[in-house]
């Protein structure tokens, strides 16, 4: 499909509807789709399941959605960065699914790759294996983990071309390429949009077939913190 280049994050974020499962890229603030997250906090969709490594920090990023009571469930590997997550969870107001980071990443890749589930040695014999199926393969015990998929993915890339191909910048790549593969609708927030042919065909990390729409980033992470471009 053709990618839509939309410079209205508030309009584009309405793709997220109440009850949806939403993947959100980024490792902390690095590679996080800050503009789209900000738009999501201004949008009225609720009862969301968020698949993201963490739920922001207290009152920041996805942490605002939590405070707004819009989250039904969070799936990730490290919620410790936001103390309120434990509080909401203990009060029974938030479901949590905690996965080892490698299992989390692999499950998202599997979701994008048409793999229903996979066997990993990670977490075998630990509390995170409770209630999960195991299987012996060639003399070793593995744990079955199911694929993760989403209705919408919010990702951040460095540059996009007008076809929707994406390249990433340094460690801001992290979960973004795999999340871009695992959702029905993918919105990519990018710092720069270039003409077709300007990105090296060998360097494109997310081919355009994964991307539905592009928006230019308004909020960017600098050495001094998150700033607004204007």
């Amino acid at each position: 499909m053709t990618v839509s280049i939309i410079n209205d994050a508030l309009r584009e974020i309405t793709r997220v509807q109440t009850g949806d499962t939403v993947m959100v890229g980024g490792f902390g603030l690095v590679g996080s789709p800050l503009t789209l997250i900000d738009a999501l906090t201004k949008h009225d969709a609720s009862e969301l399941t968020i698949i993201s490594n963490n739920v922001g920090e207290t009152g920041k990023g996805l942490g605002i959605l939590l405070q707004q009571g819009k989250l039904k469930k969070a799936v990730g590997s490290y919620f410790t960065s936001n103390r309120e997550v434990a509080q909401w969870y203990n009060e029974g107001k938030l479901e949590l699914e905690l996965l080892p980071q490698g299992t989390f990443s692999e499950a998202i890749r599997a979701g994008g790759a048409g793999i229903g589930g996979f066997y990993t040695k990670t977490a075998v014999g630990t509390d995170l294996a409770k209630g999960k199926e195991t299987k012996d393969i060639d003399g070793e015990t593995y744990l079955l983990e199911k694929a993760l998929k989403a209705d919408v993915a919010l990702v951040r890339a460095w540059k996009a071309d007008t076809k929707g191909n994406l390249v990433y910048y340094k460690t801001a790549r992290n979960f973004n390429p795999i999340m871009a593969s695992a959702a029905k609708y993918v919105i990519a927030e990018v710092d720069e949009i270039v003409e077709e042919g300007e990105l090296s065909p060998e360097e494109i990390a997310t081919p355009h077939l994964y991307v539905d729409s592009l928006i230019k980033s308004q909020l960017i992470l600098t050495k001094e913190g998150v700033i607004d471009r204007e």
Binding site: G112, K163, P201, H208
Partner: protein
Amino acid sequence: MSKKEMIAKKAAEELAPHSIINLGIGIPTLVANYLDKDKYYLHTENGLLGVTSVEEEDIDPLLVNAGKLPVGEAVGASYFHSADSFAMIRGGHVDTAILGALQVDSNGHVANWAIPGKDIIGVGGAMDLLVGAKQIIITTNHVSKDGSPKLVDECSYPITSNRRADIIITDMATFKWKNDGYELTELIDGTSLKDVEENTTLSYRVSEKLLQKESK
């Protein structure tokens, strides 16, 4: 225009603009000739999104399609390894796969990878494409070389997938799966409903539109 070219042209007409297409070997490869290269994005499972045709003098021996034929690289193309390429296919990111077939049956099952009695030693990407693409178009001659139907009630050849073909385009007619079975939606010029009937053991109904047209 040869029969094969006619089938390919019909298949091209079924494609949505700006969709991602994977073309099998044989007739499907010809479909590219009828597509505006700026509006369709061709994927080949050996690792390229953005396949174009190539002039003889520009052939690069390290740039081929899944049929191992030389191809060109579109503007905005990208390369990836085989596991990533099949992740695209199996994960439902290819809009349409156009494939050849030995047989297609009333259940929509396609047989296109093995012949009973012959050695079953090759499958390639056929099973992945059939299971993964959002839409499957089969392009094939209506009958085999010995004149026997290729559109049959039940495949006698090993099937390639449980997944059904959405559209079948032959040198006699076009069939589309609707609700619970195939509907004959179009006849190639010079072919009658009776011709199709005599050469087809696959169950189908004739579309209302075609019935009205034929009864005129």
